[in-house]
């Protein structure tokens, strides 16, 4: 019996979503090819492509360490390990999201002429960014070894964090890339938002610096899911050194090692990621029916 497809004007949201999921599963081979394509384009253009992708965060770490260590006289020990454990995760999020958001609009010609699950376009951008992120973690492990920083069993939480961040980024990418087809402002708005978001996340400055000083700042850190995530990464790779606030400056005492992430931000982020992935995929499945005429 030949396969049969029916296209109707109005379909229930669940039917649309189930079909979209089935369509993705049937095109896993294509999903992988598109992901590899993104990676190849990133690395093929230059002979030492992988080197470039590691050099960028390394330079940033040096710059930030210089600024915060020298100019602001931050006493935080092993500062590069602290920065990198948040920075790599942010880099994955902050570079992938804009690329995924425009992935539908920039492939307009392909979408108009070929029928395939369009959700693969943002998802393959996210997956290739994720693979790049996982490779770049080698830099962080290198730094940990260099400082002889003790890592513990809490490293077991890392895979969960990675997968949760993948789901979070994919969900948001699906949502924004489909909305961007209808409202092109999304991509411009996102560029500004990400700049603000970066500084609203305790990556280059320690959390303690805000919490002791500003109630508003502390509130931002509490409602920012990327702050939850980054804190988890920092705890897994870095830990919590004992700190005392003395006359507006933070001072650190004693030795420390990596710890298990706090339960609330950890589980909060995991649940939010799953919800965002499900929600983002559903919205995408619904909106993608009109891509061909709107893109």
């Amino acid at each position: 019996m030949a396969e049969m497809v029916t296209w109707e004007s109005r379909e229930r949201l669940t039917a649309v979503t189930v079909r979209a999921i089935r369509d993705v599963i049937r095109h896993l081979g294509l999903f992988w090819l598109l992901t590899v394509k993104d990676l190849k384009i990133k690395y093929k253009a230059s002979a030492i492509g992988l080197f470039w992708s590691l050099l960028n965060p390394l330079l940033l770490v040096i710059v930030y360490t210089a600024i915060f260590g020298t100019i602001f006289h931050s006493q935080k020990p092993e500062y590069p390990v602290f920065i990198l454990s948040g920075l790599l995760a942010w880099n994955f999020f902050g570079t992938t999201l804009p690329a995924a958001t425009v992935s539908i609009v920039s492939n307009a010609n392909l979408i108009r002429k070929t029928r395939f699950p369009t959700s693969l376009l943002p998802m393959s951008v996210v997956l290739s960014g994720f693979i790049n992120f996982v490779i770049s973690l080698a830099l962080l492990f290198g730094l940990v070894v260099f400082y002889r920083h003790p890592l513990g069993w809490s490293l077991l939480a890392l895979p969960v964090l990675l997968v949760a961040q993948l789901a979070f980024t994919a969900g948001l990418s699906l949502l924004l890339s489909s909305l961007n087809v209808f409202f092109r402002d999304v991509e411009h708005f996102l560029a500004i938002l990400l700049t603000v978001w970066f500084f609203a996340t305790p990556i280059i400055y320690p959390r303690e610096l805000i919490q002791g000083k500003s109630a508003f700042g502390a509130l931002i850190l509490d409602i920012n899911p990327m702050a939850w995530l980054v804190s988890c990464y920092q705890q897994v790779f870095y830990g919590i050194p004992q700190s005392v606030v003395r006359g507006g400056a933070v001072a650190y005492t004693g030795s420390f090692q990596s710890t298990w992430p706090d339960a609330l931000p950890f589980w909060g982020f995991v649940l939010l990621s799953l919800a965002l992935l499900a929600g983002g995929f559903t919205v995408f499945a619904k909106l993608s029916r009109r891509f061909v005429e709107e893109v």
Partner: protein, 411 residues
């Protein structure tokens, strides 16, 4: 009654033409979600059933709704109202090479483009050589170069080669047959004809009236989003063309039928003794008999032929009316016979087709007729035709040594 491959029921589709190209957030906020646009109906209550194995040509002016119809059938956009049902694997050729990555090599693009068309890596690997061969020498020499270095002709050939290897049950083609050089067009048309003969359903949009007449069993003329004429290609094309000349769509749509409608009512095959048979023996005589009805005046400008088509869709044996009698069909019901003195066919199953051609422009009239499958029995052979061949022992020259001297016990 054959199963419908494609069914459109009361399909409506309209486009919103925005005053400005994109809605902006500002507009949404200021106007409370309503943006200014005009609604342009593109398909206006279209119902169409395309049976399995039929090849349908869609003709009409630019902007008449042809491409929208193909997109609705391909599942690229859902209809605003109504329902579209498609049975079987679809290969849409709306634009060749739309999924190519210019930085990728030809070989890499075969896999990526194939995957976009829904083919698995394993399948592509197994058909890789066929695809490359179909794409031609020039492409196969540059298979490891980026396609951005390809000429547009090579680009098209590679894309078409992948697209036709999707092995579709339903093939949707938009104008792509009119690109490329003449040799490439010929190859495309041949391949399309093969797919048609192999019983695939084909929907073709073309401005080339000749292609529609040669390749389609049926044509539909669309104007203003409505089906204005639906029927034999020659008649539909004539209406479309006369509407273009006169500008009067209604008159062209309502004009009486121009050509004799021919219908084949019955076909059967008799053996040498005049008995109706379901099988015939290879290398023995057989007679094909059929009855035909024409509903209009007699015409001399047609010729009738009988074709034996094998399982691969190849016309292996054909006899046209030219040979031995005057061309043309009289009015009303008539009985015809064509005697084959020697059924020179390799054993297998064959489909019998009664072909009617216009002798002036060479186009096919494609009368509807019942399907007749005939089994040919006989000695199995590898080729298309039965063989009677005898081998003689090879003779060897001076200094050569016959094979027998090496056989054990022969020395």
């Amino acid at each position: 009654m054959t199963e419908a491959a494609i069914e459109l029921v009361d399909v409506r589709k309209s486009f919103k033409i925005y005053q400005k190209r994109h809605t902006t957030l500002k507009e949404v906020v200021m106007r409370g979600g309503r943006s200014s646009y005009e609604v342009l109906p593109v398909l206006d209550d279209v119902s169409l059933t395309i049976p399995k194995g039929q090849s349908l040509g869609i003709v009409g002016r630019n902007g008449a709704g042809k491409s929208t119809m193909l997109k609705v059938i391909s599942g690229l956009m859902p209809p605003d109202e109504g329902r579209v049902t498609v049975r079987g694997r679809v290969s849409s050729m709306l634009e060749l090479g739309a999924g190519f990555q210019t930085e990728y090599t030809g070989a890499e693009n075969i896999y990526l483009y194939g995957a976009l068309m829904g083919l698995s890596r394993d399948y592509l690997r197994s058909r890789f050589d066929d695809i490359v061969e179909f794409a031609g020498d020039q492409v196969s020499r540059h298979l490891d170069n980026a396609v951005k270095t390809y000429s547009s002709g090579m680009y098209m050939r590679l894309a078409f080669a992948v697209a036709v290897h999707v092995d579709p049950e339903v093939l949707i083609v938009d104008e792509v047959l009119s690109v490329g050089d003449e040799a490439f067009q010929k190859k495309c048309l041949e391949r399309t004809a093969e797919l048609r003969a192999a019983g695939k359903t084909i929907v073709l949009v073309s401005h080339d009236a000749g292609a529609v007449k040669r390749f389609c069993d049926r044509a539909v003329w669309i104007e203003g989003g409505k089906v204005r004429a639906d029927g034999r290609p020659d008649d539909v094309l004539w209406r479309y063309q006369s509407s273009m000349a006169s500008g009067d769509v209604e008159a062209a749509a309502r004009a009486p039928e121009r050509r004799p409608a021919v219908e084949i009512e019955e076909i059967h095959v008799e053996d040498g003794n005049g008995r109706a048979q379901e099988t015939v023996r290879s290398r023995e005589p057989a007679t094909v008999r059929f009855t035909m009805t024409t509903t209009a005046e007699a015409t001399v400008n047609v010729t009738v032929g009988v074709r034996w088509i094998n399982a691969d869709g190849v016309v292996v044996m054909a006899a046209s009316q030219h040979r031995g009698m005057e061309a043309g069909i009289g009015r009303g019901r008539s009985t015809w016979a064509c005697a084959f003195a020697d059924v020179a066919l390799a054993p297998g199953t064959y489909r019998l087709e009664i072909a009617v051609h216009d002798t002036v422009d060479g186009s096919a009239i494609n009368p509807p007729h019942p399907q007749l499958k005939i089994n040919v029995l006989g000695e199995p052979s590898e080729g298309l035709v039965p063989v009677q061949a005898t081998w003689t022992e090879p003779s060897y020259g001076v200094g050569a040594r016959a094979l027998t001297s090496h056989r054990p016990g022969a020395g």
